[in-house]
């Protein structure tokens, strides 16, 4: 197995220098090596695990607990206008 570092970076919207890409490729591939080792274990008849903690999910009652904190939450946004987040145009 060989990871396409450039493709992964593109999917994750992470910009890599050539040097970083060269460094990360072997590192990610060595992780895949460990996984390949794990895949040698025979898991026939073993149910897939949903979560490492064998706990059931706690559920929440349907009650509104949050109030409008827009001003505080938008204080860290790079750009807003009339309460809307402003981002670079996303469709052609």
């Amino acid at each position: 197995m060989d990871i396409d570092v450039r493709k992964i970076a593109q999917l994750s919207r992470i910009r890599l220098t050539n040097h970083e890409a060269q460094e990360l490729g072997p590192q990610l591939n060595s992780i895949l090596g460990y996984i390949e080792q794990l895949q040698e274990v025979n898991t026939d008849g073993v149910a897939a695990m949903a979560h490492p903690h064998d706990s059931a999910m706690p559920l929440r009652s349907d009650i509104v607990t949050n109030s409008n904190r827009r001003d505080a939450l938008q204080a860290i946004a790079p750009q807003t206008e009339s309460g809307l987040y402003v981002v670079p145009k996303v469709i052609e």
Binding site: L59, R60, N66, G83
Partner: protein
Amino acid sequence: MSWEVVIGLEVHTQINSKTKAFCGCSTEFGAEPNSQTCPVCLGMPGQLPVLNNEAVQKTILTGLAIDATINLESKFDRKNYFYPDLPKGYQISQFTVPLVEHGHLDIPVEGGGEKRIGITRIHMEEDAGKSMHEGLDSVSHIDLNRSGVPLMEIVSEPDMRSADEAVAYLKQLHQLIRFLDVSGADMEKGQFRCDANVSVRRFGAPLGTRAELKNLNSFRFIKQAIDYEVVRQIEIIEDGGQVVQETRLYDSVKGESRSMRSKEEAHDYRYFPEPDLPALRVTAEEVAAIKAGMPELPSQLRQRFEREYGLSSYDADVLSQTLELARYLEDLIAAHPANPKIAANWLANELLGRLKESGHEIVNSPVSASALGLLLDRIADNTISGKIAKDVLDEMMRCGQSADTIIEAKGLKQVSDTGAIDAMIQTVLDANPDSVAEFKSGKDRLFGFFVGQVMKASRGQANPALVNERLKLLLNS
């Protein structure tokens, strides 16, 4: 050689819980932009989702209503993609093990009978925010109030063979969802959205390559978009080409679709188990309790209307089309319990037509069920005739006043005073001596003519039964 059309549908319907799927933010529609957000639904680092029990209950209820299997253990996964209205960079969804599987819905087919459409699964997931591009040059605007609103994605088997069947399925599903009260399902508000997977093949051939149509937000557009797509695919194949598997966006204004496939990678969702959420476990007892609380479904309601109220199967069908209409009928019958059948007739034949003309829906009818009930009381107690009542209803639609107020103000009260009616009859008989003579010589059908003349003389206000009775007496005297 003819072609067979194969359609599978994915419906996203917003669960009508008060709060979002994983946080305590309100889901109310139409609030100030970004006023209903918090660090969880904004995707701030380190925030943990906690699932809304109401959303779980409503998904199970929907699953039970389509005769599906409820998985007592289901799982959540991350669906990764980049878009500014998805702040976490992934959508929490159920990929490997959904809460609901293997259901079905029976749809009416042309020429009578039903067809069973398989429902592969219903899984829970969260909605994205809303992007706005219109009127903006180099930027887009993002409102994240919708981010994290719980959705059910209802995935059908590729069992439909025409655009009409697809629409029939969607209408049936829409009605079911409204009756279960699990979603507002208002298509204009994006609470019930449909994607269609469409392919064509020669009869008996294996499945063709499908295209996914997005952005189908009305029953009419769904039919148009599918019809357009079928023609497009057949043309490609008949010209010796091949259909490409892709996502296409339907433009209802232009009546055509265009490919959305700009980048191959866009479809690489890299699903993996959601590490922030352990398995969702429900017990058989919980499922049984939800089943016990199942509300009346459309077909059951229709049957009850026939049985309890003696409605014709046509009226029962018309009046059980929507929950709102059915509730109106029940309120109307509660207000005027004397004759449910007459109440149903007035609703189906008089009120609905007037609502359509004035552009109202039953929910915002200018005439409430209790107001219409009062009008029916006034017919029943002989204050006005049924004919006058129709004029009163017109006036009620216009001004919103009560039947009593209008009857009083316009002096429409039915005349049931024998003396007054006798006087009117005498005037009519005196004015038509020839007809009286003919009647007396055996022309019985002139009786109707006299009734009409008397009713006309009273401007419709004479009690028709009394006019008949007195007229018989006076003519034969």
